[in-house]
Symmetry: C2
DNA sequence: CGCGTAGTAGTACGTTTGTACATGTACGGA
DNA sequence: TCCGTACATGTACAAACGTACTACTACGCG
């Protein structure tokens, strides 16, 4: 297709391979050799394109964050045109609960960020973005609380075979989003 | 004190060292040598007392789970004699938010359990225990939702320098625990 | 066309890893 | 008292690691 020589594509392939590998072996389980094998490139390519293994990991996590931001945009739109915000949010969450790899990856990012502060802004993306989207439909407190709850539900599903059902999600989110309906919104 | 020869104590020291190390280097960052150095025992001791590194890690996580169960008992008592359950739960959570190492360790357990199913029962301990405690004060749905929210708040504090304030916690928990006050409790 | 640069590929090296093992020492039961 | 067993400790080793390096090849620019 693109012939043999294709720097951008090779770099992309390695990042993609790293993203694939993270749910399988964890962030700390990544090695040059594992990524090279998965991407179908020689070992040397990994050090040619990334100054260090940390750089490769960072690139992979940044890519994962891009995917998350994409989802965030989708959620924002969906919530924008929704008549019943809690129900829509519950449905979106319930769908997301099924994409295990995404959530494992995201939790790996959380764990990595707990040890490496420079990753924290990346890790905050999801929660902050979701809070911002919900701020259009509830007070600041309620929005953040709902976002925290959604994150908790995602975490919960990593550990439990049976995740929270849609009805529970909907009731909980309705309660949280409506909690300071007639109050100040600090 | 106990003289030199003291198997139980040595084993305990190594597990304690591993527990100390987990918040610093992560579960996957643990090595025999690191644990041995921290515990002040020769390298050989680690393989004498633990069949493999995985066993050592499992023992450390099991110890962390014991500490968690202790906290769980405390929470259960405190909630039992409370007149205002949401306020008490919010206060307990706010206190817990300050113990960063505990939470990092617990999140490491979550991440590890996502890859190794045999750790999942251990990881479920906290959420299930908290849900059980809350079941005495709310419907099953509300109890689980509140537990999920607390877990989300703990996770949130790993990433954000400013964790949720007590008032937000209290309002959120009150909303969740009271959400199906006059409804069925499936 | 020729040539320099950027990409490709294989290999080598020094370190650190998990684990095995050989040797030494204290202690409890006979 | 003596001895076997359980514990202690230092060292050894193969594997896997991150990374550096050398040689080779294609492509764009003069």
């Amino acid at each position: 297709m693109t012939g043999r020589r294709n720097p951008g594509e090779r770099r992309r392939r390695m990042i993609e391979a790293a993203c694939e590998l993270i749910p399988e072996v964890g962030v700390n389980g990544l090695t040059h050799r594992l990524v090279a094998a998965r991407a179908g490139v020689p070992l040397g390519a990994t050090t040619y394109y990334f100054a260090s293994l940390d750089d490769l990991v960072a690139a992979a996590l940044a890519r994962a964050a891009e995917v998350t931001e994409e989802a965030l945009r989708l959620w924002h739109e969906e919530l924008g045109r929704s008549a019943d915000v809690p129900a829509t949010l519950a449905a979106l969450t319930a769908d997301y609960l099924r994409e295990r790899d995404r959530m494992v990856t995201w939790n790996e990012l959380y764990a990595a960020a707990a040890h490496r502060p420079e990753l924290r802004p990346l890790a905050r993306l999801w929660l902050d973005g979701l809070t911002r989207s919900l701020s259009g439909h509830a007070g600041a407190r309620a929005a953040r609380a709902a976002a925290v709850f959604v994150d908790g539900a995602l975490l919960h599903s990593l550990i439990n075979d049976e995740p929270l059902d849609t009805e529970s999600l909907e009731r909980s989110l309705a309660a949280l989003l409506g909690m300071d309906a007639a109050m100040d919104t600090t």
